[in-house]
């Protein structure tokens, strides 16, 4: 079925992947998608309209079709949500299938609100947009005049791109995202192993469609559904899926293996598996030697990589970028990456091409340890990266690792053999803010794939093809401090030190780091905050700290769809449109077969009657226009757009020359036939494949974005700058530093993550999540009987380090490892007084259970600044 659909679109996958991908996975799955297609067809005949959209209920972007009965006012009776049956990221989970219910939700914010009580008290009055926008502008202006533009901070989960239009236009560098609580460690791991270009969660991913054994260390696959579907297909093929997790995630309730590891000890487990592979010589020596920096030399003293500059060369940048490698012949050679400009034969344009500086006939020596003489005459002890690994791994013989990880030694041996001999793949992680040793773990997980030799090959950890879709944005050049708008207007930003970078120089986004700025005004004060699509009190570890931070701002504006908790701390709450009311063309993340694909978003739902929500960018820019018309004019935004329609019309002017038109023009120039096929598929299916995956490219043919261009199992990147010193080259395991380990009988690890039915933000308010998401803390029944805790007992839970205390009922379940309490994020523990005021009776359920961030210490590891959302708590039974 799949085969047929994709051929019809004319942009089918490469023949090879097509056959390999579908032969095995025929059967049941194909039938189901066909059935959806038929349902959609019938509804169309009955006068329903089909609109494609990428799901934005969580971050997965699965392909949905919104069906809407034409000629009647849309309501829950006339709107239905389906998975897009041909989509390469197909599938729809329960959270998405309640999208229409969220759109029609009685909880939705409808009008701008102005705070009338004390901050945090949740007392508001409805005001007109005019009053809200004027009020904000009036408060913002003196703040900027007194403290400078950089005193204004923007933060968001998924709408950072939108916020940047406003932050740069205003003149502040401080758009600081959610990453520290989400994917920072994973991104860091990918930066270290593959380079900055590949840091995105879906730039690198396992090729689920062909994988034989998939090991998911702290990845739940609650999202995206496309991957959940591909995993089921993989299982049909006989592949094995293994979850390493103190909690048994929902997808592990079927036929998958579950390895209940002690929290924070995953690194020891992986090293132990490497130890087995090394001892039993199961690793892929050829891959390690040729495609990674395993044979490169590092100092035995401080671990720094040995360069030509140090041994024989000059102090030029070029020689500093040439790394020493030992050959089997016993010589030391130097390797690096070169960049050349070549003309693209298809387009005639010049482009940069990178290649390796290396002599293919040099045979790398993996295992070696010895001494080298520097050009200054000193003799320094050195070893190969592989030897460094072998030494580290030798500390984790399975028997020793079993004691640390709680996983039996023979199981570790079996897992290692399975992964190595079946050429399994370690998932590289998405959400990874757990224990404070996560950067090392995420790097190690990438590196472990190198030992198996399974990188950028079918079934391995692969680079996902990009779609080539560009998006327009304000360009910022850090060297000249200059912003350039799409229309060519330029302006300067005075302060270019992002507030979080003052403390975490490589942070993708560490909002909590503003604590220092807020308390001590160091290095500079921050005073105003715009929160767009983010619930800081559920998002950030250590809720109390975040509450205190919110109290300190002079101005807080929250844009949201729902009356979530952070609204309580806002001076103004602005109602926002949700994704079913917006549109556009986007790339497809997590596409099947690792291809580069794009998709159209045209959900076509109107804003419900009586709801005055506006698209998020409108108020952000309108406030700037009201305070400083000349700054808004930088974008050509010179007069208020009174309606969403007007604003969208104007908004289009920002992206001229980007996005789909640009992509189509490029395709047209290169391959007109393909351009035609892409357009047809987009129109017919709502999506199109632009670029099929070319396996075996990185680093076989093209260098990665690392200092050596190789896959770096030992990171050289930290040695390029002094302020990166907190990140080790070798991702050695270290015990948890983020919180005190539980030690008494009534003390527990607090294990966080998401559950499948609960959801961040929007979904948290949905009836499906209400019905099905566990909000209570979850305890192992054996611990419970030891402590005399009964099902649904009321517990007092106290954070061991911060002393923060809250109450929750408890659910007993063998899905959580002994000694741990599971507490999913975004499920329970809402304390929103605004919500209470708006829906006095019906909101009870949202207050049940826990918000795990209450109990987290808020510890962040250095340099990248990822937070640890796990923690440790003690419990006391209050009543049965």
């Amino acid at each position: 079925m799949e085969t047929r659909t994709e051929r019809r679109t004319g942009v089918g996958l490469s023949r090879r992947t097509l056959l390999a991908g579908t032969a095995a996975a025929a059967g049941a799955s194909a039938i189901s998608w066909k059935v959806i297609a038929e349902q959609i067809e019938t509804l169309k005949k009955e006068g329903w309209e089909a609109n494609p959209v990428a799901c934005k209920v969580c971050g997965g972007g699965c392909g949905l079709i919104i069906m809407k009965k034409t000629g009647v006012k849309p309501s829950l009776a006339t709107v239905r949500v389906f998975p897009n049956p041909t989509h390469p990221q197909r599938g729809m989970c329960g959270r998405a299938s309640q999208a229409a219910m969220l759109w029609a939700s009685p909880y939705r914010l409808k009008k701008p609100l102005k705070r009338v009580g004390a901050r945090g008290e949740g007392k508001f009055k409805e005001v007109s947009w005019d009053e809200a926008l004027d009020g904000i502008a009036k408060q913002l202006k003196p703040i900027v005049e007194k403290y400078g533009e950089s005193s204004v901070v923007y933060t968001s989960h998924t709408l950072s791109g939108i916020q940047k239009w406003a932050s740069f236009t205003l003149g502040t560098i401080n758009q600081i995202g959610h990453e520290a609580t989400c994917n920072t460690a994973g991104n860091a791991g990918r930066i270290l192993a593959f380079g900055k270009k590949y840091q995105g969660k879906n730039k690198i991913d396992p090729d689920y469609d062909h994988a034989s054994v998939i090991m998911l260390v702290g990845r739940s696959i609650n999202c995206p559904m496309g991957v959940a579907h591909r995993l089921v297909e993989a299982k049909d093929r006989g592949a094995k899926v293994i979850f390493v997790n103190p909690w048994q995630p929902d997808p592990a309730l079927g036929t998958a293996d579950w390895i209940p590891v002690v929290p924070g000890t995953d690194g020891a487990l992986i090293f132990s598996m490497l130890q087995v592979m090394i001892r039993e010589k199961l690793y892929d020596a050829e891959f390690l030697a040729r495609q990674t920096n395993a044979a490169y030399l590092v100092s035995s003293d401080d671990g720094h990589p040995i360069t030509k500059a140090e041994l024989t060369g000059t102090d030029s940048d070029a020689d500093k970028a040439l790394y020493a490698m030992r050959t089997k012949a016993g010589t030391v050679v130097f390797r690096g990456v070169k960049t050349e400009k070549v003309t693209d034969p298809a387009t005639g344009k010049e482009k940069e091409v990178q290649s390796f500086i290396e002599n293919a006939s040099d045979v790398p020596e993996l295992e070696w340890k010895g001494e080298l003489k520097t050009k200054a005459g000193a003799v320094i002890p050195v070893k190969t990266v592989f030897t460094a690994y072998a030494e580290e791994a030798s500390k984790y013989e399975p028997a020793a690792a079993a004691k640390i990880t709680g996983i039996a030694a023979d199981r570790i041996v079996r897992l290692a053999r399975l992964m190595a001999t079946k050429k399994g793949v370690f998932e590289d992680n998405w959400y990874s803010s757990r224990n404070g040793n996560d950067v090392e773990l995420c790097h190690l997980l990438c590196a472990a794939n190198a030992f198996i030799g399974n990188v950028d090959q079918q079934g391995g950890l692969c680079v996902e093809e990009g779609s080539g879709l560009t998006s327009s944005a304000i360009k910022f050049d850090g060297k000249t401090k200059t912003c350039t708008a799409p229309n060519g207007t330029t302006w300067e930003i005075t302060n270019t030190l992002r507030a979080d970078h003052a403390y975490f120089p490589e942070a993708p986004g560490s909002f909590f780091a503003l604590q220092k700025e807020l308390e001590e005004e160091k290095p500079y004060p921050v005073k105003a905050l715009f929160v767009t699509a983010s619930n800081l009190l559920q998002r950030e570890a250590n809720t109390d700290r975040m509450r205190k931070m919110l109290m300190k701002f002079d101005l807080v504006v929250v844009q949201d769809v729902m009356p979530q908790e952070t609204c309580d701390y806002a001076d103004y709450v602005l109602p926002a449109t949700m994704f079913l009311e917006k549109g556009g063309v986007t790339g497809i993340e997590f596409a099947r077969e690792m291809g580069g694909a794009i998709q159209r978003n045209a959900p076509g739902l109107p804003i419900p009657d009586g709801n005055e929500s506006r698209d998020d960018l409108f108020p952000l820019l309108e406030v700037i226009r009201r305070a400083w018309p000349e700054r808004a004019a930088r974008l050509g935004y010179t007069k208020e757009c009174k309606t969403n329609a007007d604003f969208r019309k104007w908004n289009k002017t920002l992206s001229e020359g980007y996005g789909l038109p640009k992509l189509m023009a490029d395709l047209e120039a290169k391959d007109p036939e393909k351009a035609k096929a892409v357009k047809e598929s987009l129109d017919a299916n709502g999506w199109a494949l632009v670029k099929p995956k070319a396996y075996g490219t990185y680093p076989y043919k093209k260098p990665f974005d690392t200092p050596t261009g190789k896959m770096e199992i030992y990171a050289f990147w930290p040695y390029l700058k002094a302020n990166r010193k907190g990140v080790p080259g070798l991702p050695a395991w270290e015990p948890v530093k983020a919180y005190t380990l539980p030690s008494k009988p009534n003390e527990f690890y607090m294990v966080s993550g998401k559950n499948l039915q609960g959801n961040s933000g929007l979904g948290m308010f949905g009836p499906g999540s209400h019905a099905n998401s566990e909000r209570r803390a979850v305890m192992n029944p054996d611990d419970a009987s030891r402590l005399g805790v009964k099902e649904n007992a009321l517990l007092e839970i106290r954070a061991i380090d911060t002393g923060f205390t809250e109450k929750s009922r408890v659910h007993l379940s063998y899905r959580i490892k002994q000694g741990c309490l599971h507490m999913p994020g975004f499920s329970g523990g809402t304390r929103s007084k605004l919500l209470r005021a708006m829906s006095p009776e019906t909101a009870d359920w949202m207050e049940e259970g826990v918000n795990p961030n209450w109990f987290a210490t808020g510890y962040a590891s250095p340099v990248f600044g990822p937070l640890a959302n796990n923690g440790s708590v003690s419990v006391k039974v209050l009543s049965d």
């Binding site: 039938i31 189901s32 829950l76 989970c93 309640q98 959940a228 579907h229 079927g254 209400h770 899905r815």
Partner: protein
């Protein structure tokens, strides 16, 4: 009343080895069959949302697993036995247990009679609801799969005629290990839970 042999026996198979508990089937059931109930915003006894599926996680077991349960289309259905006016009956065509609104007074006796807790009271009509709702009956009449089956992202559901040995469901049953729920109640359920391939 339940002796007759139907021409077909339409049945659901729920594959516990594939289900990831995403609850899409539950919501698909709601939107396909009970859009009007949702749009009305009326509360429902015992359920947050209208729908015929219940998610049950058996995590008090050492080996936790989950079941998405719904009407079992019992051959010897207690709900049929309970109804005073014969409003619940077995469809001679499909073998499914149906409800005739014309004969129902909304006493909810069938709701307490169903050992599978598969029924609920529709706040708009007062009718006891269960699988299959009208939307799904229409789909099935058109030869399509019901909503929950189609919506499942992991293909954990199969629907079809178990009297036809060639049907997908019959083949799935033949090639796997399935169990039925609460068989000891003597209801002769026609709902298959696949527990191993």
């Amino acid at each position: 009343m339940t002796e007759m042999k139907p021409k077909k026996q339409l049945a659901h198979l729920f594959n516990a080895t594939r289900c990831i508990g995403c609850t899409a089937c539950m919501n698909a059931c709601a939107q396909t069959n009970y859009g009007d109930v949702m749009a009305s915003g009326k509360p429902i006894h015992g359920r947050v949302m209208p729908g015929n599926i219940q998610k049950i996680v058996m995590d008090g077991n050492r080996r936790p697993f989950q079941i998405m349960s719904q009407c079992q289309q019992c051959t010897d259905a207690p709900c049929i036995k309970a109804c005073p006016f014969g409003a619940n009956y077995r469809d001679p065509e499909t073998g499914q247990v149906k409800i005739d609104p014309k004969r129902c007074m909304g006493c909810n006796y069938c709701i307490t009679a169903c050992p599978y807790d598969a029924r609920w009271s529709n706040p708009l009509t007062g009718l006891p609801e269960k699988c299959m709702g009208e939307g799904c009956q229409k789909l099935v009449a058109e030869g399509k799969d019901p909503a929950c089956v189609a919506a499942c992202p992991t293909n954990a559901r199969v629907f079809g005629d178990i009297l036809d040995p060639e049907s997908a469901i019959s083949r799935e049953i033949a090639s796997s290990r399935t169990v039925k729920l609460l068989e000891e109640k003597g209801t002769l359920p026609n709902f298959f839970v696949e527990v191993a391939k």
